[in-house]
Symmetry: C2
Subunit: 656 residues, 2 copies
């Protein structure tokens, strides 16, 4: 790698990262100022909840909530903007999540699962927070297995009402945001029964509190109490004791009950109906992936700025030179902690942008494109998983990289860490999501998520000659060109050849997925139990999803750089991309060796290249984190904002 | 691996883990009961601090503090017991750390660095907490580089006093436990000046508050405020503005100043004197390693018990069988999360026990054994680092493995996670400690820590033909026998052959360390800058330390199993040990492939063996965590104590 200094066009870089919804980011930067939106710590639970609600009501007075809602009710119907707006609320993740509950989940479910009359009746009050509400899906006994949740909604044709009921503790709605304190209404997911027959999971509007904040008759509300983080979100528990709601309260876009109890639906298959309903909620997952990205960026901005100034240990004096303590970011160990994580954060940013664009386009397309919808859901599941795991890991690394200072609440890392921790669990447990990604790969996105159970999947795979089709995700002609130009698997190819890198990750994904298909097929032939087969291959399944997501992120990264309008800046981004992909290869180099994709010499060269790239990128680290465009007052950490610089007599770079 | 069920002798297993200081563990189990010692959450900072102090005062009335102090002042002079007692305080890590500050660091420094008169004057009040105190070493600008801290203590022969002074903000004492609220006295580490000459870092007793909790004149006290965790510990900041203390306040075991200002010391070399003083504080690091182990065990006990009962997703019905949801610990992915971590926790437990025994024996040995002391310090540094990293990672994994329930404060994982997070930083930053381990390996423990700077080290290594001497650490004849019986590197050897495993890890350590020595030697010959050379090899340096510690832990594990009195239980432990060592190999199998220690087929077989071992150990997982002997009321998590079991109609295993 050349050590020649690069001139970085900071405006170009910032603009590239801001992307298609740059105006929404600017709007958020404009709105989220001042004491009302400043990060705080050390409040009591009640104080933090009150503050978060106040912030939410203040946001309601801006344009931000309108993006997610239809024009018919005063919204601006810009799904992409609504996701980007969500991810900007990094000043306090409690606010981010509270907003996500109110407008994304509660409002989003009414929008997606309800019909015009529900929109007209509820959405204006949802937007204004006149009607704070809950998204009551998860049950104590059923976090991941939504299809088998146990709350019932039984239609009573005499009264033309549904009876919503919690049969046992396992069916209690749990971890529900807005439930413990503020919610007045809940979208409740329940097994719908009419005429003695089950029609599967449906959603209904169920009032839970009266105008004076008292639980309504038959509604039992508990408080989840103190959590690891997100102190401003009032998570609670809901149980229903034969609570009656009018027939009209059924969100009836995908299934309706006539006054006499007759059930009808535009989708015949119960299974397909369920997954179609669930699919409409994909925006939530994409939002969480974006939110995780923002938290990661904030942590990296703090740790990199601090490490750039913080000094520790003197460098043994070379002949006659004055000794000075070494900046900690000059240590390879510190670079190794922060810079590959920074590179991956860039990659995930571009993948997120691409996913939001897809979601947005799909929301505007005329006819339903089932394949595209399946692919979107799969991508959303995978990106949510890898982005949130990356957040958990990176923020922790940043904490450690900042030493004792990183442990102090004033430096924000503890709250970022604690708040974002649950992101790996909510909106779908990551381990479950990654398995869905692999299932989609095995079925070529032909089926909805989980539309096939394990047995069905094994049968499906066994039934055909399996060949992976790598579906390119971004900038297809460019990537095809790069791959075509790659000089093959030979030793001579530079590790920095992008075509070679793309092919390497593509080949890994293909090989792992095909190997898995073969394994399932053989086991099927041997007549082995489908559960045992699938369970015994679970590590293989998760690895396939990882490999897939690495490739997806790399392609998005390449496409992102291609949009960069400044050559020198693009060069820098190419180095960042090299660091991302070579870290991925380094991490999994055992696999590449085991499958003879890398020689031992070349594997060692990858490690050396990661070291070289770390050293080469170190001078640009502060510019790279500043380009995220996070306001100083959101970072709030004194160690990143001049306290350490002042102590050392150094200038503070890139203050906004 | 055989699938034959093993009968586990639970009493034998528990006794083996309780080890030499079983009576201290029993004592702690007896003392730490009832409401006073129950885990709590959601208190305000002030309430938690008050509670922790009250608990500490209650502990002071028991025998526990006496272990760490000399008989002359009413102590019981049993260092091993004092470390084991510390690690048992897992009911609240704030109490653990507060105790560590008061009796371990503050009291320990007076004991180790002071002389009889200091012992007599202070230690009784330290033990009774009549005199709460601080260990004021770390400075804002110098966390890791203690040798260059900047607080000064200048002797004034006219007044026969020392003037303690903080010259600038970098020299401010920071993160000091007991400083913000309770401390009355501090052991202050400062550069000692007398007659205009610097004598290096020494420790002095400096009063900081009067009897009415007011800071004394010239002492400025700040509060570090809210932290990620440890809310009950009042960390603060101390600055001194020409504060005068009597000459007698110098802790003068290793360096004294006569009334006229003449300096004297039993150790001539300033450098050696410094490292000797620091070496006496090794107990703190060993204690932290033990505390990290306890926190890890508690988290695993919670997560394993919950996963054993929690069910999610139905198993596709085999012909005619009734469907039932699958216990999450039956999933390979969940086993992979928890069981290798459990196996490593066992290994670290035995390594910790061994280290405590060494510390204890060394504290009683007549003459000083420099080599043994260096080895102890190196081992303590390494074990502290790997045990605390393991804690951070494992507790996080446990949180995720428990899903939403793991995020609730009532289930204790959040507080365990947040409290133990700083363990990777305090008592020595892990990354710095691991480098010290490697330096010791390179110098064969001939030198004190850091007694050689980077330049000196490179010179040292360059000056001799380097050959690693693997110093066995435990049960030497047994391990020699096992290694001798190993059938060599051939493919035919079973992966479960203990001799082969021992040799594999030994060989890796040797190869990495020798490779590093060669690299430093070559660079020296080329006349390259010592800092650049050492920095460029930092990942290599850290890898050497990891490899060393893996081998040390494995040897301790083998020795521990050898002490087990029941054959069937020992068999189980041997499987746990297999899982530990094969996980280690799996994690680093790229290295083994790159260096042709494993063929690709054998590397793949290692992954399969880890899967097999996970499945094989799954039925014993609950017994294995119950053997830690942590009281249910310390775990406190409803999900681990019957809430989930009751909901599912399952019995609760192993309640105490």
């Amino acid at each position: 790698m050349t050590e020649q200094a690069l001139r970085v066009d900071e405006a170009e870089l910032r603009g590239l990262l801001d992307g298609r919804w740059a105006h929404v980011r600017e709007q958020a930067r404009d709105v989220l100022q001042g004491e009302l939106f400043a990060p705080v710590h050390g409040l009591s639970t009640e104080e933090h909840r009150e503050r978060t609600l106040t912030q939410l009501r203040a946001l309601a007075k801006t344009d931000l909530p309108a993006y997610g809602f239809p024009e018919a009710v005063g919204g601006r119907d810009d799904v992409g903007a609504s996701v980007v707006g969500f991810e900007m609320l990094v000043n306090d993740l409690s606010l981010m999540v509270k907003m996500g509950v109110q407008w994304g989940l509660f409002g989003g479910a009414i929008r997606a699962l309800g019909t015009e009359r529900h929109h007209a009746e509820y959405l204006p009050d949802v937007m204004s927070v006149e009607l704070p509400g809950c998204f009551a899906m998860t049950e104590t006994g059923h976090g991941s297995d939504v299809q088998n949740l146990r709350t019932t909604a039984t239609y009573d044709p005499d009264a033309e009402e549904f009876v919503v009921h919690t049969p046992d503790e396992a069916a209690r709605k749990d971890y529900i945001g807005n439930a413990a304190r503020d919610g007045r209404m809940a979208v409740v997911f329940a097994q719908l029964y009419t005429g003695g027959e089950s029609q599967g999971v449906h959603a209904l509007m169920v009032p839970i509190r009266d105008g004076r904040d008292r639980p309504l008759p038959g509604v039992h509300i508990g408080d989840c109490g103190v959590k690891a983080g997100l102190p401003g979100v009032d998570n609670g528990r809901l149980s229903f004791d034969h609570v009656r709601v009018p027939r009209a309260n059924l969100l009836n876009r995908y299934g309706d009950v006539a006054p006499d109890g007759t059930y009808s639906s535009p989708i015949e298959s119960k299974n397909r109906r369920f997954f179609t309903m669930l699919g409409t909620l994909v925006r939530g997952r994409i939002s969480v992936a974006g939110g995780a990205g923002s938290a990661t960026k904030a942590a990296l901005a703090i740790a990199v700025r601090y490490s750039d100034t913080r000094r520790q240990f003197t460098r043994p004096g070379a002949d006659g030179e004055p000794e000075r303590e070494v900046r900690v970011l000059d240590y390879l160990a510190q670079q190794r902690k922060l810079l590959p994580a920074l590179a991956r954060t860039y990659g995930l940013h571009f993948a997120q942008e691409e996913l939001v664009v897809r979601l947005h386009e799909l929301s505007r397309s005329a006819g339903p494109d089932e394949h595209a919808q399946r692919e979107l859901e799969s991508r959303a599941a995978g990106l949510k998983a890898v982005a949130t795991w990356h957040a958990t890991q990176t923020i922790q690394t940043c904490r450690e990289a900042c030493g004792g200072a990183g442990y102090l609440a004033e430096n924000r890392l503890p709250q970022l860490r604690a708040d974002s921790d649950i992101f790996t669990t909510f909106e779908g447990d990551n381990t479950v999501l990654m398995q869905q990604v692999t299932k989609a790969l095995l079925t070529h996105f032909q089926d909805s998520f989980g539309d096939l159970d394990q047995l069905g999947l094994v049968r499906f795979v066994a039934g055909k000659v399996f060949e992976t089709v790598i579906e390119r995700t971004a900038a297809i002609p460019l990537i095809d060109r790069l791959v075509a130009a790659a000089p093959g698997r030979g030793e001579e190819t530079s590790l920095y050849n992008r075509g070679w890198q793309l092919e390497l990750l593509e080949d890994r994904e293909k090989h792992i997925t095909e190997g898995l298909a073969g394994r399932l097929r053989r086991a099927r032939k041997d007549g082995r139990d489908a559960f045992e087969v699938f369970n015994g291959a679970q590590d293989h399944v998760l690895h396939a999803a990882r490999a897939h997501m690495d490739r997806v992120v790399l392609e998005a990264f390449v496409a992102g750089i291609d949009r960069c309008g400044d050559t020198s800046t693009a060069k820098l981004l190419n180095r960042v991309c090299d660091l991302f992909v070579l870290s991925v290869v380094e991490e999994d180099r055992a696999w590449f060796l085991e499958h003879e994709r890398l020689s031992t010499a070349r594997a060692k060269a990858v490690t050396q290249a990661v070291n070289d790239l770390c050293r080469g990128l170190r001078p640009y680290a502060v510019q790279l984190v500043n380009a995220f465009g996070l306001r100083d007052e959101w970072l709030a950490a004194p160690i990143a904002l001049g306290a350490e610089h002042a102590r050392q007599g150094d200038p503070v770079p890139g203050r906004d």
